[in-house]
Symmetry: C2
Subunit: 418 residues, 2 copies
């Protein structure tokens, strides 16, 4: 079953042509069959996963990484449920984005079509195999999966179920493919397959993403970091500001839409920071502040924030805090240190909110809500293949629609150009 | 006035922030002032152009290239008119693409915002300087122009008018910039300015575009070639097919949306080809055909088409013709030889039209109309910065909307994530 990338990509391209014309009902049937297959054949999957786990333990891997690699019946059920939810979502393919008629009678339709062949390069989480395969298939794209070597046995087992169920349900051969080898060369070849691969989405840590971007000759959509800010304005409802700021840092600190830096308007700082800090401390949050913050919070343990802190994605229960003298200074800070991901303002002033929303070049801007909502499920997109901090094509949470492009379809009655 | 690319890009980035917040009326005022300035100061522009023309003649340049380089009062008036038309078009910035409410009360708006800093790398046509500057400014983007050395005096003269009028009208300094040097190193630096330049659009021949794509580390939107086909189906209205096929080849053969290959269904070929060929011959079109075409057109001069013909963008009064035995064979031919630009079917059969529209991965697909309509003006986009054969971000004719991206703006009443 070892195949070269050339063979994989040419099979994928053939499959993509057929997938673009595959009906919604066949795609949905395949997704449900894949879900059932994962549950039915979970023994195979779990025993493959046991091999990966044994190898990981032998290599001294533990903690969060080992947890990410681990499958169990509950996680397999969740993977299956994810595929069933995709089956229940509307099919984006064929949707008419816009349609207009020209004075000469031409009808121009801007129609959603699949992107084509999508490569996913990811790390240790075997559930990505099923999630990404499902998203790509539902949106009519052929997918080439290239997971990390730590999860290779799990990925192969999951892939074999997905592939066989997809074919049995009538999807074209090659619609889902897994790069069988764990050779790094295979990633390089995939990233250079111009004309065969239409898009690569890297999923994983910043190191993986930087490597993919550096090597790729095909288009890549990505997100490096999430250095998200919350700005508590002078006129904020401070109770609301406290709830939002607490949620953005504490509810799940290890993800990209969690807050890393809290900016507080000088006019609100003395009323806001002391009780906010107590709540953070009670939740085990390490605080790092600028001079003014430390002065206000005298008595509370607050480390001096260094320049490096403003540019750090902690992904942990650590928060940097800065008191700013104006909205402009907050905007200036976010423009310099933000990562174009998610930024929030808490304010009662519509004028200030508008200045904030218009003044920052980020994918998601919040007024009076937590940055933690930047997520396909929370946005109501149903599912998410990633979050993009790019500005071309897709920005923010990417669901099924963002896995499509469009095509103009023009209908005439013999019009020629004069 | 010689500046390094670093200085240009950092000025552009500052300007882009301000431009994103500039009102429509200020932008329109600036565009109209730029138009008036071009007309008022046309003497300066024409005398600069004379220098370029003298140098070109000395270098032995003539014909089409010299014509493209030439400015005259009529062409300057047309440039000015182009800017005035842009002023009259709606502003895409701030447009709401979609808006929805989540069960928790969050309002999510997907809003058009400028892309940021756009670089234009182009060849000998000085009118591109004004056209692209106008399109970028109206869509709220700062623009860095890098024209060919053949037109450098003309470009500098046009730029000086645009820049001074833009500033006087209230646009931020650095909103329009020209790379003053004709050094090739400056192009390379522009293409590598990751984080400073958000998009580069190359305008020119295939050689220029390939060089830009190869060197660019910033995103590029482009179009290599237009190898466009017209397929005359068995059930086509042959009079309509003749009018469309004639127009697609002859009306303006030197452009990307002109037809290069005519595919004819075997069942229509004998009735269709003889009179079609007479009309082409009368218009001076050189014909190259497959064996069956040559057999049907015995007596008419038709060269044998080689394999290379099917992959050639003639940009001239030359046409390759192939008789196919089915719609599937036509699709197969277009998939192999097409350039993802514009493809047409002439047929009375809705079923066949749908199979054609669903089966080809091109930016624009025509049913019963000429491929020559692939054009921003013809589509009603008002103006066009280029045609894209890419699939990510923008496809087909790109107008003002395609020079923007979007941003999610989320409004809450204190929602936090659970």
């Amino acid at each position: 079953m070892k195949t070269s990338i050339d063979l994989l990509t040419s099979k994928a391209k053939q499959a993509a042509l057929k997938l673009a014309e595959t009906s919604t009902s066949v795609k949905n049937k395949a997704l449900r069959a894949m879900a059932a297959g994962l549950v039915r054949r979970q023994k195979e999957i779990l025993s493959a996963n046991a091999k990966d786990l044994a190898a990981a333990r032998k290599a001294g891997i533990s903690g969060a990484l080992l947890d990410r690699l681990t499958l169990n019946p509950k996680r397999i059920t969740e993977m299956a449920q994810g595929l069933r939810e995709l089956a229940a979502l509307p099919d984006p393919v064929g949707g008419v984005i816009a349609r207009w008629k020209r004075p000469n009678g031409l009808t121009i339709s801007k129609v959603r079509v699949p992107i084509g062949v999508i490569g996913i390069v990811y790390e240790a989480r075997p559930n990505v195999t099923a999630d990404c395969a499902g998203l790509c298939l539902k949106s009519g794209n052929a997918v080439i999966l290239r997971g990390g070597s730590e999860a290779i046995h799990s990925n192969r087992a999951i892939f074999q179920v997905l592939d066989s169920e997809a074919r049995k349900s009538g999807l074209p051969a090659g619609a889902v493919q897994l790069v069988w080898s764990t050779d790094r060369k295979s990633v390089d070849e995939l990233l250079e397959a111009v004309g065969w691969v239409d898009l690569v989405i890297p999923r994983g840590g910043e190191g993986l993403i930087r490597t993919v971007v550096e090597k790729a000759k095909v288009p890549v959509i990505k997100q490096y970091q999430g250095i998200c800010h919350t700005f508590v304005d002078a006129s904020a409802n401070l109770k609301m500001a406290e709830a939002i700021s607490f949620n953005a840092k504490v509810q799940r600190p290890g993800v990209c839409n969690a807050m890393e830096t809290l900016l507080v308007h000088r006019a609100a700082a003395k009323r806001f920071l002391p009780s906010m800090a107590r709540r953070y401390r009670a939740a085990g949050v390490e605080l790092r502040g600028d001079a003014e913050t430390r002065k206000i919070l005298k008595g509370t343990p607050v480390k001096a924030a260094s320049q490096k802190d403003w540019d750090t994605e902690y992904l942990d229960l650590i928060l940097s805090i800065r008191v700013v003298k104006s909205l402009d200074e907050a905007l200036e800070h976010i423009r310099r240190h933000g990562s174009h991901h998610s930024e929030a303002i808490v304010t009662r002033s519509k004028k200030n909110a508008e200045q904030f929303l218009n003044g920052i070049d980020a994918a998601c801007l919040y007024w009076n809500a937590s940055t933690r909502f930047t997520d396909g499920g929370q946005f109501g997109l149903g599912a998410e293949i990633g979050v993009s901090t790019d500005k071309l094509h897709a920005r923010g949470p990417m669901g099924l629609e963002e896995l499509t492009t469009y095509q103009y379809r023009i209908t005439g009655s013999g019009q020629v150009r004069r």
